[in-house]
Symmetry: C2
Subunit: 211 residues, 2 copies
C-alpha cells in the first residue's frame, strides 16, 4: 500500500499530479441517529438474556439494523424510536446529529467512532429499564469505509483526511473526511442527516474524492 509519507513526497515533487482517483465514485450512506449497544446494556434495556433481532442488513458486512429501538432523553427533550444497530459491541455508543443535540439539550462532540473520552451524556430508555450513558454520545465525524484494494485504487491510506465533492443544486465539498481502511469494510461515504440534507444527498448517491 502507498504510505502517507510517499504520497507527500510525490505531491512535493509533482504538484500537478492528481493523487486521488477522482473518477471513482463512492456510494453515500446516510446515517440517521442510532445506537450500538453492549450485551449488558441490551439486557438492561430489553430484559435478562435478551439478544437483538436483525431487521435489515447494512452495507458494512455483518452489521445490521435491529428490530429494537430505544428512547433517548436529554435535559431539553427526548427522541423516540432511535434504532439499535447490531451486533452487540464491547461499549455502548450513541451517534446523533447536531440537530438531535439541540432537541435533546446535549453537546455531543464530533468524533471518530470509539473516541468517547469527554463526549456527551444522555438517558436511554427501553421497555425493560433505562441506562445512563456517561461520555458515550458523539456526532460521528464524516468518513469513508473501504478495503485495501479500494484504498489503492483511490490512492489514499488509512487515517488520511480527504475532501469529498458532491454535485447538484446543493453541491458542496466536504473537508475533513477521514479514510478508514479495513478488509472487512465495504466502500461507503458515511455522513449524518444534517450533512446529507445540506448537500442534497441520499444513500447510494455517488460522491468523489477531490483535491
Amino acid at each position: 500500500m502507498i504510505n502517507q509519507s510517499l504520497l507527500v513526497k510525490i505531491k512535493e515533487k509533482l504538484p500537478g499530479v492528481c493523487l486521488a482517483n477522482q473518477a471513482m465514485g463512492i456510494p453515500t450512506g446516510v446515517s440517521n441517529r442510532h445506537v450500538h449497544l453492549s450485551a449488558a446494556d441490551i439486557e438492561a434495556l430489553f430484559g435478562q438474556g435478551y439478544t437483538l433481532t436483525p431487521f435489515k442488513d447494512l452495507k458494512q458486512p455483518g452489521q445490521y439494523a435491529a428490530k429494537e429501538c430505544v428512547m433517548v432523553v436529554g435535559s431539553k427533550g427526548s427522541i423516540s424510536k432511535v434504532r439499535v444497530l447490531g451486533p452487540a459491541r464491547p461499549t455502548t455508543q450513541l451517534e446523533v446529529s447536531k440537530a438531535d443535540c439541540y432537541t435533546l439539550g446535549i453537546k455531543a462532540p464530533v468524533r471518530e467512532s470509539g473516541a468517547l473520552s469527554n463526549s456527551a451524556d444522555a438517558l436511554m430508555v427501553g421497555p425493560a429499564g433505562h441506562v445512563h450513558l456517561k461520555s458515550q454520545v458523539i456526532c460521528a465525524q464524516r468518513h469513508i469505509h473501504m478495503n485495501g484494494l479500494d484504498a489503492r485504487m483511490l490512492n489514499v491510506v488509512n487515517g488520511q483526511k480527504v475532501r469529498v465533492k458532491t454535485e447538484g443544486q446543493c453541491g458542496l465539498v466536504f473537508d475533513e473526511v477521514v479514510v478508514r481502511v479495513n478488509e472487512a469494510y465495504a466502500l461507503e461515504f458515511h455522513i449524518d442527516t444534517d450533512e446529507a440534507n445540506a448537500a442534497g444527498l441520499r444513500s447510494n448517491d455517488s460522491v468523489f474524492i477531490t483535491d
Copy 2:
C-alpha cells in the same frame, strides 16, 4: 460595478488572478424555519385588523422577527412555533429546511426567495384561523446579501454564483451560493439549519468566498 462578462474576460486572460477578495470575512446568518405573511393572511391567522408585533430586529435593515408564531401542518406531521418575520409582504412564503420537509411530509424545492412556481403546499394554523399555502413553501437557496460597495470589494456581481469556504473540524466549501446585491442589504451569508449543522457554523461566524 464590474460586470459578469468583464470578470469572465479577466479570468480568461489571467487565470492566476484571484477575482474574489478572499480576505474579507462575511458574517453567517443561520435561518431557522420561518414564514413571511401577507396582510390578508395575517388577518386570517390572527384576526381581523391584526398587525404584527416586532420582537427582535434582524440584521437585514427593516426586517424583524415578530412576536407571532404559527403551526405548520403537512401530511406526515406538524411543527409548532414557526416564527413569523415582518413586515408583511405581498405574498406569503414559508421557508423550511429539508429536515423539516421530512417531519411535515412535504417536498419543498430549493429556490431563491420569491421563486414559488411549482413549490410545495402546507397548512398554516394560527389562533384565529388557518391558511392553506398552495405552491408557497420552499427551502431557501444559500445566498449572500450585500450592498454595492460590498460587491465591489468582494469583486462579485448580483446573481453570480460563488463558492463559500468555512473552517474548523466540520469545514466545507458550499458551491452554488447566490450573490444578491441591493443597497438595502447588510452583508450576510444566509444558510438554513441543516447547512449550519453540517458545517458547524453559528450566526456571526465568518466565512470566505473562495475560488
